[in-house]
Amino acid sequence: MSGSSGFSLFKRRNRSIIPGFGLTLGITLTHLTLIVLIPLAALMIRPWDIGLSGFWHQVTEPRVLAALRLSFGAAFVAAAINAVFGLAVAWMLVRYDFWGKRVVDAIVDLPFALPTAVAGIALTSLYAPNGWVGQYLDPLGIKVAYTPLGVVVALTFIGLPFVVRTVQPVLEELDTELEEAAACLGATRFETFIRVIFPVIFPALLTGFALALARAVGEYGSVIFIAGNMPMVSEIAPLLIVIKLEQFNYAGAASVGIAMLILSFIMLLVINLLQRWSRRWAGV
């Protein structure tokens, strides 16, 4: 997100010392077109067989709205949980040395590597009423598997690495002198964290939050095992897309896809604006 004026695409603002601007721009545009734009264009073309009113009708069905609410709501809650605990994990990994740190560091990446279906099945067998964890929660009246809560659990699992891995490098870069200065000036440790450390890591934390959120919104594989998939209650939007495809309703499936795309775009845009504002605020 550079602040260059977009009047002329190929005019450089100032002569850069580094050569290869034209070449890299060409590669970037070609790559983005092939990998991102063409598939998205194909998606955009699909729904218009049914016209704008058809599109609107598809995405405002109560069941679709309920699914979108669940997908985005659960993803938001999961990303928020990850922001808090991911920050704690990153803090611990950067600030302290302890035995087995390498192992913990590696464990953080596991949700990345694990096939989502495996994660879904594992979580379901844990949280089902007859599962290891579920059997203790069930008497308390807490149902996780086959409820929206299960969706949040699955999305939290897959989103954790994003927050940790984005916050970690920023924390490592943080100058201890800043903290020492704050301490000399009589700040308590809590004040130091709130007024010195947090503003610096906040943009990175937001990035991690955004990544975890975006990943969770589109997640399918792990969720369908634990959600229970009840219409109006625990049916996620990607599953509805699959259901519409099962009925050869390509236009309807693409409509829901576009609705998700637009919502995600708006969300990421807001997060981006927040970041720019917070950078200014932090004076970074």
Binding site: I45, W48, P129, Y146, G228, M230, I243, K244, E246, N249
Partner: protein
């Protein structure tokens, strides 16, 4: 827009051709649905042996399995299958409607509506039948949890739904209103909707969710074999539906690949005593009277009605399972 679409489809097809493996005529692909894995594993080996003995040619049969609707969609989108063996006629109808791979009259080409084996819908309950579930009426009682997949995504679930509907409608003297009310009540008792038959079996058996599983008869037998008769038992309802999973040759593909002869022989072999025996061994009900008799002890006698009760698959699909159909009405909010 039309023009653009054509260009896009042509491009996709060309790309598809470029990357698709070259099939020899010594290879055919059978695109099938989920619970037939075991059946076709055995049948393919038997057919390859039979083909070698009669023609001297080696033949390799590849099989692809998945949810019936998804498999049909893969074929429509260009999966290069020689034969399809799916869960319900409407999935093959969809292929005939959306492509020109086979004629709309495909179902008349082979005996018995092109369905070499049949199945039905039965109940699977926990050992000892603690909830005393004997017939359809027990499924709508308060406090009974019923496990079935989602009829929107699973062929088997559509058979489940229609079996329940048919039972209730008949009981009320052929009233559709009674059928609808019954099915709506039934789905109020469903706590989890999996996308496919195997997923529902897992939910019921491994996760211990629910009191009764509505399942294909062959799935129920398999579940008992795999997981032990000490955990589960089959309950046969008073009346159920005759499920007919059809088979068809994809004319256009076999003509292009030169595999027509072997593809047709492959499906015909399903109707021979050998093929029927393999079907019966894998808990599908054979069509040949001789084999039906031989396996009579395995398959209990149930009063069966078939899909014609619902005006055929095309009508049933439109009325019940299409967007805005009866099944969608069941899950309208505020009901």
């Amino acid at each position: 827009m039309k023009w653009f679409k054509r260009v896009a489809i042509t491009t996709a097809a060309l790309v598809g051709l470029a990357v698709s493996p070259v099939w020899g005529s010594g290879q055919i692909l059978n695109v099938s649905y989920d619970p037939t894995r075991e059946l076709y594993k055995e049948f393919n080996a038997a057919f390859a042996k039979h083909w070698k003995a009669t023609t001297g040619e080696d033949i390799e049969i590849k099989a692809s399995h998945g949810g019936s609707g998804k498999q049909a969609r893969s074929v429509i989108d260009g999966l290069d299958a020689d034969v399809v063996t799916l869960a319900l006629a409407s999935d093959i109808d969809a292929i005939a409607e959306n492509t020109d791979l086979l004629s709309k009259q495909w179902q008349a080409k082979l005996p018995y509506n092109s369905t070499p084996y049949t199945s039905t819908i039965v109940f699977l309950v926990r050992k000892g039948n603690p909830k005393a579930i004997k017939d359809w009426d027990d499924l709508v009682k308060p406090g009974i949890q019923v496990i079935t997949p989602n009829p929107k995504t699973s062929g088997g679930a559509r058979w489940n739904y229609l079996a329940a509907w048919g039972y209730a409608a008949d009981k009320a003297g052929g009233s559709d209103a009674a059928g609808k009310e019954f099915v709506a009540k039934l789905f109020k008792n469903v706590p989890v909707l999996d996308t496919g038959a195997r997923g529902s079996t897992t939910t019921f058996v491994q996760r211990g969710i629910g009191d009764v599983l509505l399942a294909w008869e062959n799935e129920a037998f398999l579940a008992i074999n795999e997981l032990g008769a000490d955990k589960l038992e089959i309950v046969v309802p008073s009346v159920s539906i005759l499920a007919e999973p059809p088979v068809a040759v994809l004319d256009k593909n076999v003509d292009r690949k030169g595999t027509r002869k072997v593809a047709e022989a492959y499906l015909t072999y399903l109707y021979t005593p050998e093929g029927q025996e393999i079907a019966a061994k894998n808990y599908y009900r054979p069509r040949l009277p001789a084999l039906a008799q031989k396996y009579a002890t395995q398959f209990p006698n149930i009063k069966l009605f078939d899909i014609t009760k619902f005006g055929g698959w095309a009508t049933a699909q439109k009325t019940h399972f299409a967007d805005g159909g009866v099944f969608d009405e069941i899950y309208k909010p505020g009901q």
